[in-house]
Subunit: 344 residues, 2 copies
DNA sequence: CCGACTTTGTAGAACGTTCTCCACGATGGG
DNA sequence: CCCATCGTGGAGAACGTTCTACAAAGTCGG
């Protein structure tokens, strides 16, 4: 009749028939629930193996879990997220959970739509990496699904958080540059998310730490907004470096932005580190590349990811109900993009 | 407040009640199926808006589609995939489909598990980027779910393909280097996937094109296997450059591997492009960075992604049943990592 | 006006799980 | 022995959709 389009799936019913038990029994084995004798256990497992049975996650989602963890991020281009994700995957390896990633772009509404998609797909837990969605929306989501927020320092009773001590990171950089003899040290940080209600975004905390450290050294802070992209760094760098008394050192809140500054400096004929010391943030793989050699701040992305995953699973499996925050200590990685400034 | 944990969802039943119609009617409106009067259409839409209704994708999956497209890739670290994904997202913007990404790592079995996860989650279509899974498994999957394979040149009646003309890409590079006067031009390409049954992986086609071009120029080909990672490029580069008559130019099958070669050259005191010309592949964002300036081959990743998405949706929505292949023409982007070799 | 269509809307059966009850037999204390 | 308890397994109702039938109400040509 029909050209047999799609081969039909093996279902729990098939397994039950094969093992000569009820579907309820198979379900119990599947979830290793209480009330199953070892004998039946084994028979069912054998039947599942013979038929190459795999539970239909979509169907599971109708009643219980889908064994899916969603990770929201803005862009795949920031390889720091790859570090985080490695940690997540590693932590979840061997478990039954699958990680699916939504790359939503930088728009708040697109991110919100992506998060909703994940909720609609009945994901068991969400990891939101520095979400641009409004705080209210994140809180509403967290009310529905276990959620871990990475990046933002704002805490909430309803979701867990994993952050890096960005203020300490900024201090490390300022101390390093000040020790080299720099006095005009500028900061490029992402512009705030307007109206998003997040008070303590990574960039805000970074800026706070930077300002405090500068004051501690008796130096005048100079901060400029720059999108965390090559282009953003380039534009801000161009402005800073064309000014009358240009800084002798620039720290950027992301490696990729620092590399934009690099291009601006190159165009203006400024050598690095001769005429300008440059520091990035995140210590992504690019920073370590032979031709790049960018001094940066390591955030142990993999550890952050692993921690987030562990915390999330605790929540998903109901082993913890209190919210929790984890902070990582950053570490300065000095490479050859920083040096003492010219003698004035 | 009540201590009730999870607020219940708005379902199709709620909408039906609000609009004073049957759930079947609401479903029809949702799928804009045949047999709905404009009046009812409007009433239902109003009710959906009032209640802020969103269809439950997991439930949809039980019967029909989930409006989800899965993208399989090995690692987020290769930013070429970000280009592809941008294209996919852009093509699907405004549609009802959500894109979810599985980063499965390089292992064949892990990739297979990830693909199965996607099938189990009842995704409507899959885009597999240079899958390491065996060909047989991919064919089996494509039998069940509409699938587009990106990268591998092997065609099949059961899935669509989007490829880059890698042989042409290799020729572009060899021609460029030969024109500069190079005669010892080595190729670093990924090792084949053993036992995977793919005959025409991107790297195999690249190697073929390279060999043909070298012969055309009367030059002796010299190919070496190298994983497409910084480390892989470094190791292969070290070996090549320490040998007696080291090549004066190296082309790598991926930018990231070329950057590994860069490190090897730096360690051996070889300048680029003075002592060694270096060419990458994919023209990822790193290649264009100010301190990098790597000559590379552009593959129009975004276009590949957009094309793959368009082809996939045609299949998903049943507008096409014949398999289809699309090939892109690569373009050489010359930067400052290539120059004439030293006069011998 | 009458039958034959067409259009619009509904009832209700899937889909593949989970999970709450419930039944049944075996055990054991009194 | 009787009755409560326990351990094991099964029946069957959800879960939120889709979609096939089918009923009811027009519409229209003759």
């Amino acid at each position: 009749m029909e050209p047999t389009k799609r081969p039909k799936r093996v279902t729990i019913t098939d397994v039950a028939a094969r093992a000569g038990v009820s579907t309820a029994a198979v379900s119990k084995v599947l979830r290793n629930a209480y009330g199953v004798s070892p004998a039946m256990q084994e028979r069912v497992r054998a039947a599942m193996a013979e038929l190459d049975y795999r539970p239909h996650a979509a169907a599971r989602g109708m009643r219980g879990r889908t064994y899916t963890i969603g990770v929201l991020l803005d862009s795949l281009r920031n390889t720091f997220f790859a570090d985080i994700l490695d940690g997540v995957q590693q932590q979840l390896r061997g478990s039954d959970y699958t990680v699916l990633i939504g790359a939503a772009g930088f728009g708040a509404s697109e991110q919100a739509r992506t998060v909703q998609s994940m909720v609609d797909r009945q994901m068991d837990g969400l990891i939101l990496i520095a979400p641009g969605t409004s705080r209210a929306e994140v809180l509403a989501t967290a009310e529905t699904v276990p959620t871990v927020v990475i990046g933002h320092h704002d805490t909430a009773a309803v979701h867990d958080s994993v952050v890096d001590a960005d203020d300490q990171g900024a201090a490390l950089v300022v101390d390093h540059l000040a020790a080299l003899g720099h006095r005009r040290i500028a900061l490029l940080a992402a512009p705030g998310l307007k109206g998003s209600q997040w008070k303590l975004t990574p960039e805000a905390v970074l800026a706070k730490g930077y300002t405090a450290a500068m004051k501690r050294h008796g130096l005048a802070p100079q901060a400029l907004a720059a999108a965390y992209s090559e282009e953003g760094g380039y534009e801000a760098g161009k402005r800073l470096l064309s000014a009358a008394d240009r800084p002798t050192a620039i720290m950027a809140g992301a490696d990729v932005a620092a590399l934009g500054v690099y291009r601006a400096a190159a165009e203006l004929g400024l050598g690095i580190p001769g005429d300008l010391s440059l520091v990035g943030y995140n210590n992504t793989a690019v920073a370590a590349l032979a031709p790049v050699q960018l001094t940066s701040v390591d955030q142990a992305g993999a550890t952050m990811g692993a921690t987030a995953a562990r915390m999330l699973i605790e929540r998903v499996e109901g082993r913890r109900s209190q919210a929790m925050q984890t902070a990582m200590t950053p570490r300065l990685v000095v490479r050859s993009s920083t040096a003492a400034p010219h003698a004035d």
